[in-house]
């Protein structure tokens, strides 16, 4: 008896549920819109003023999308420059002025960032692995490795940064010292 009552009750409820009038659709929409609006307002009032979410909204979403929309067809090189500035442009320049087989004597960190003057460089350009990413397959030898490196006798070029590094270039014959550039090692000619 009880089971039958429950069953009938369920069937009636299901029937009511199935029977949807236009008004029930409108009510559903209004109710949904009100709750959705309330949740959205809550998020705008609570989350957006917080530093982390603010950064996300302004820098990550708006900032990046503005750049992407302004230059949708930028080349890979241009996009690297946007993020890495001089560091990338300089390494790209070195790449363009050296053969794939070049063995480059690479300056230490203090030459990139001398204490006595400001530097155009900003990132980890002094790091051998960092430089390898943009100069490969050229070999890179740091000054500190000159005694032990298997390439110590095969150096073909020397990198000059912030006007430092000439002591390693024998017989430099340029009209004036190069501030930043790549020179052919021991060959008394300037490639750039």
């Amino acid at each position: 008896m009880k089971e039958t009552t429950v069953h009938t009750k369920k069937t009636t409820q299901e029937a009511i549920k199935e029977e949807k009038t236009p008004l029930s659709y409108i009510w559903w929409f209004v109710k949904n819109a009100m709750i959705a609006g309330f949740i959205l307002l809550l998020m705008i009032k609570i989350l957006l003023p917080m530093t982390g979410y603010k950064w996300e909204q302004e820098k990550m979403v708006k900032g990046s999308m503005t750049i992407i929309k302004a230059m949708p067809n930028a080349t890979l090189s241009q996009r690297f420059v946007m993020k890495m500035g001089v560091d990338y442009a300089f390494l790209q320049d070195v790449r363009n002025h050296t053969p794939d087989t070049a063995v480059i004597l690479y300056p230490p960190q203090e030459n990139f960032f001398p204490k006595e003057k400001s530097s155009a460089f900003k990132g980890e350009i002094f790091n051998k692995l960092f430089a390898t990413r943009f100069l490969y397959p050229r070999k890179i030898i740091l000054e500190k490795e000159m005694a032990t490196s298997p390439y110590k006798d095969k150096v073909t070029h020397v990198l000059i940064v912030n006007g430092q590094g000439y002591k390693t270039v024998e017989g430099y014959q340029g009209s004036q010292p190069v501030e930043n550039g790549i020179l052919v090692y021991k060959k008394k000619t300037i490639q750039k």
């Binding site: 949807k20 029930s24 659709y25 559903w28 929409f29 109710k31 949904n32 819109a33 709750i35 959705a36 949740i39 959205l40 609570i46 989350l47 917080m50 530093t51 982390g52 979410y53 950064w55 996300e56 990550m60 979403v61 990046s64 999308m65 750049i67 992407i68 890979l76 996009r79 690297f80 946007m82 993020k83 890495m84 990132g123 980890e124 790091n127 051998k128 692995l129 960092f130 390898t132 990413r133 490969y136 397959p137 070999k139 490795e145 032990t148 490196s149 298997p150 390439y151």
Partner: protein, 461 residues
């Protein structure tokens, strides 16, 4: 994207999709799709390392052949194991998708899509440019693609790179990301950013799927949006480093183990084992999550006497790391250890670490409201946690993993950098794995689930 990259992407997605189906066809379509790319790319990187060990050159032709072979094997296995169930499960999933929609769900889906569109766009647009990537993963992956070998790569030659075998050096980094990058470059991609981009995109789908299994569709959409908008988490998701990628595997591994302990479905246990194993394939510190998970599983195994399936899960979770260690030792790729292996007590060091970890959990700039909501939900659900053991396994693993993280930081010999620097700049990324777990708990605990079901009822037609 070149045609070969698109073919590679499709093969990767299908490989992962069929592996999940091999475990069980009963996972929802959302879960299967979400897990397809993360698992697929890891399988391919494992294949790459096997090929390298067998001295097979990692050229595009070999990568595609290896992937097709893997795909054929997995799809055949799926059809043999599941027969008609496979197709029936997909049709069923499609039917389920369009039931009981509401505007709140729709609003959050639009928010998720919008935010992910912006995130994916910036990820794909800007090439890898951050320090950690260019001074390790990106360059190693790039050179691997040029030299078609990992073990024989010039960057691991100590004569050319004297630092390559030094403390905490890139040579011994878990290989997933580097090989994934190499995979995309070998196929002709101009940037490696497809890897973090697709990883995060598919993770969102998987996370939505797994949350939806435990609560309502609306709840899953809200949780996924709040989880993904955690500031540092989404910020780092577009960078070619391992932290967010590891978080994908570690968090899902822990969540699936919690689901197994709740629902006793073996499929969740096996998937958890695979995901936890892949978490350590991405970062060695993933051991903390395997450790936490295995302690909880051991307690459960002793009580329920489920030795066989637990052993399978344990084997799955340690196999990738075991293979990597075998590969490293065999090919002389080990580096100086940074771990202090003896027992010692340094109260000042420990308090520095615990203080920093506590500070991180409270940091709203990094993780937004993640841990605040987690704490509120923990208090609100406290009675059910205590009396009904609601989500107790998940919480225990969360706490154990945090303790293990502190212990690892404590046992590191900071000879390459200061402890202050590591805690200040690197450790914020350690908590990424906890972000999805915290949100999963916040939305699936007894109180939240009840509230979300009520909300769904109110919103339904």
């Amino acid at each position: 994207m070149t045609p070969l990259v698109i073919i590679g992407l499709i093969l990767t997605i299908f490989t992962g999709f069929f592996l999940v189906n091999c475990i069980s066809t009963k996972f929802s379509l959302t879960e299967k799709i979400g897990l397809s790319f993360p698992i697929g790319i890891c399988l391919e990187t494992i294949m790459m390392l096997i090929m390298d060990q067998l001295n097979i050159s990692m050229v595009a032709k070999h990568l595609i052949i290896s992937q097709i072979t893997l795909l054929v094997l997995l799809s055949a296995l799926t059809f043999i194991l599941t027969k008609k169930e496979f197709f029936a499960s997909i049709v069923h999933s499609f039917k389920q998708t369009y039931k009981s929609l509401n505007l709140v769900w729709l609003m959050f889906i639009v928010l998720i899509v919008g935010l992910e569109y912006a995130n994916f766009s910036r990820c794909m647009y800007f090439p890898p440019n951050d320090r950690d990537s260019l001074c390790a993963f990106e360059t190693v992956g790039f050179v691997t693609a040029q030299e078609h070998t990992y073990k024989g790569m010039s960057l691991f030659d100590a004569a050319y790179y004297p630092d390559s075998h030094g403390s905490a050096n890139y040579t011994s980094y878990a290989p997933m990301l580097q090989l994934g990058i190499a995979y995309f470059y070998t196929l002709g991609a101009e940037s490696s950013k497809a890897l973090p981009g697709f990883m995060f995109l598919f993770f969102l789908i998987a996370f939505y799927g797994v949350v939806k299994r435990c609560t309502t569709k609306t709840g899953a959409a809200i949780t996924t949006f709040l989880m993904m908008s955690s500031p540092e988490f989404i910020g780092f998701s577009a960078i070619t480093i391992t932290n967010v990628i590891q978080a994908v595997f570690a968090s899902l591994g822990i969540i699936y183990l919690a689901l197994y302990l709740k629902g006793r479905s073996n499929k969740d246990l096996y998937l958890s084992g695979i995901l936890l194993g892949l978490n350590m394939w991405c970062r060695t510190e993933g051991i903390v999550f395997i450790g936490a998970a295995m302690i909880i599983l051991l307690i459960d195994t002793l009580r329920k006497k489920t030795f066989k399936i637990s052993l399978i899960c344990l084997a799955l979770s340690i196999l990738p790391a075991a293979f990597w260690y075998f590969f490293m030792i065999r090919n002389n790729m080990t580096t100086d250890s940074i771990a202090i292996t003896r027992l010692f007590w340094d109260s000042s060091k420990m308090s520095t670490i615990t203080g920093a970890m506590w500070g991180l959990f409270k940091n709203e700039d990094y993780y937004g409201i993640t841990f605040l909501i987690f704490a509120i939900m923990l208090i609100a659900d406290g009675w059910f946690v205590w009396k009904k053991k609601d989500n107790i396994a998940l919480l225990s693993m969360f706490i154990l993993a945090t303790i293990f993280y502190c212990l690892i930081l404590y046992h590191i010999d900071y000879k390459w950098d200061s402890i202050t620097n590591v805690l200040q700049y690197s450790s914020k990324r350690f908590l990424f794995c906890f972000v999805p777990i915290a949100w999963f708990f916040s939305s699936t605990n007894y109180i939240a689930d009840k509230a979300l079901r009520k909300l769904d009822k109110v919103l339904s037609l």
